[in-house]
């Protein structure tokens, strides 16, 4: 059995933490672009238009069926060639570009569902009441409907975010150096030894990140819940 040095976990942690900003940047970039795309998809499903709805449904169905690693490699190998047809050259784009593109495509599908269910959870009467007391359409959406949607969306959004963070660890397979990639580099530098210690350090990091995100989401959700009764007891949204 290979020797196991627990103290190496502590040695590896600070080196891995240095690359947390990369992981965070990937997640933030993906959340931004994925949400934009997700809004479009959700609108496609909510609106009446048949073509839009069919497209959104097909997109979400296909994305749901594809393993992230397959999509990651498809984008990594396929996108440059595909864009080349239109005369666009992205062969020099960084690894981060491909990673964010891939995970935005994946994340948008889950975000579309988050947005749709949040939108449908808020009663129509809320908008009608707001408009009837003289708010403009925009005001009614921004001040009345949106805050309620956000609260309903938080648990699902958190789930999607945690999944994204975990799937994001696959980015190392195309050579991006985030915490996972750095871990692999460290193992390489040590000629394969200390791999258990480094993986354990990564376990702690990812687990900690997940717990932090979930905790933060819980606080945010409670902050947005208006009455004390609802805060303590069962949430009354459908």
């Amino acid at each position: 059995m290979r020797p196991f040095h627990p103290q190496y976990i502590l040695e590896a942690l600070p080196q891995l933490i240095l690359y947390l900003p990369v992981t965070a940047a990937i997640v933030i970039g993906t959340v931004f672009f994925g949400s934009l795309l997700g809004i479009l998809l959700a609108a496609g499903r909510i609106r009446r238009g048949r073509v839009g709805r069919a497209f959104a449904n097909l997109y979400i169905y296909v994305i749901r069926c594809v393993p992230s690693i397959v999509l990651l490699f498809l984008v990594y190998y396929g996108l440059p060639e595909f864009l080349n047809v239109f005369g666009v050259n992205i062969n020099d784009a960084g690894k981060g570009f491909f990673v964010i593109t891939t995970f935005s495509l994946l994340f948008s599908a889950s975000m579309a569902e988050v947005f749709r269910s949040a939108y449908e959870a808020v009663d129509r009467g809320q908008r009608e009441a707001a408009v009837s007391i003289g708010l403009t359409e925009f005001q009614a959406f921004y001040r009345i409907v949106l805050p309620q949607c956000v609260r309903v969306a938080i648990p699902n959004f958190t789930n999607a975010l945690v999944n994204l963070m975990k799937e994001g660890s696959l980015a190392y397979t195309i050579g991006l150096i985030d915490i996972m990639g750095k871990g692999q580099l460290l193992i390489g530098q040590n000629h394969g030894s200390y791999s258990l210690e480094i993986y354990l350090a990564l376990f702690f990091l990812y687990w900690g990140l997940t717990l932090m995100v979930e905790k933060g989401a819980g606080i945010w959700e409670r902050h947005l819940t208006p009455t004390k009764q609802e805060r303590g007891g069962v949430r009354k949204c459908n």
Partner: protein, 237 residues
Amino acid sequence: MQLDTQFMLTTFLHVLQGIPVTLTIVMVTLLVSAPLGFLMAVSKSGEGKIGRRIIAGYVSLIRGTPVVLQILFLYSLLPTALNYWIKEVLGLSYNIFTLNPIFYAYVVFILNTTAVLSEVFRSALSTVNKGQLEAALSIGMSAPQAYVRIIIPQALVSALPNLCNTTVNLLKSTSLAFMMTVKDITAIAKIDASFGYNYLEAYLVIFAVYIFLCSAVQGVFHLTERGAAAYKKPAVS
């Protein structure tokens, strides 16, 4: 952009040989994880405080970390640890390194899926009124009888959509089994691609195969859902 269609066809035929491997991993994992996850879900609502803590910690750890990491960790831990255990502790001469790597895939995915399923079953069990169990026990059924005949058929209806999700996710994560040198769909296509650097075509083939498999899984669950919910419909006279 040119796609080598001849290559795609031969790779597709090769990849078909990987489908049984992928499906075997999925089936074995589900068959082992379902009872384990169910036991966890039942004992989570039980009394033992320490047991509940351990289960909660296990579920949180598994669900809070990436599958890739679990694969890499166990695949670098298990073979050497088992080798040590067999040679030094048990004193046998069995060479663990000749073991089919699919067993490591089973271990990883069973650990993972059990945690997910325990949550699925817990929420499904909570949809069945407590009175149902009490009523079943009061008319003289044993606890296993009450679960098998009364609770599970009702809980199954609300568990099935989540079970379908879990199965689809499991199917997708098996694409990472190539990291443990299991020759599944992804591994076969990657090997084919590496001869002529036809990665794009190979991944398009895998893409199509996964959409097909995933649709099949969803179709099966759709039919099962209809069957399981049959008791809710009024009886036809």
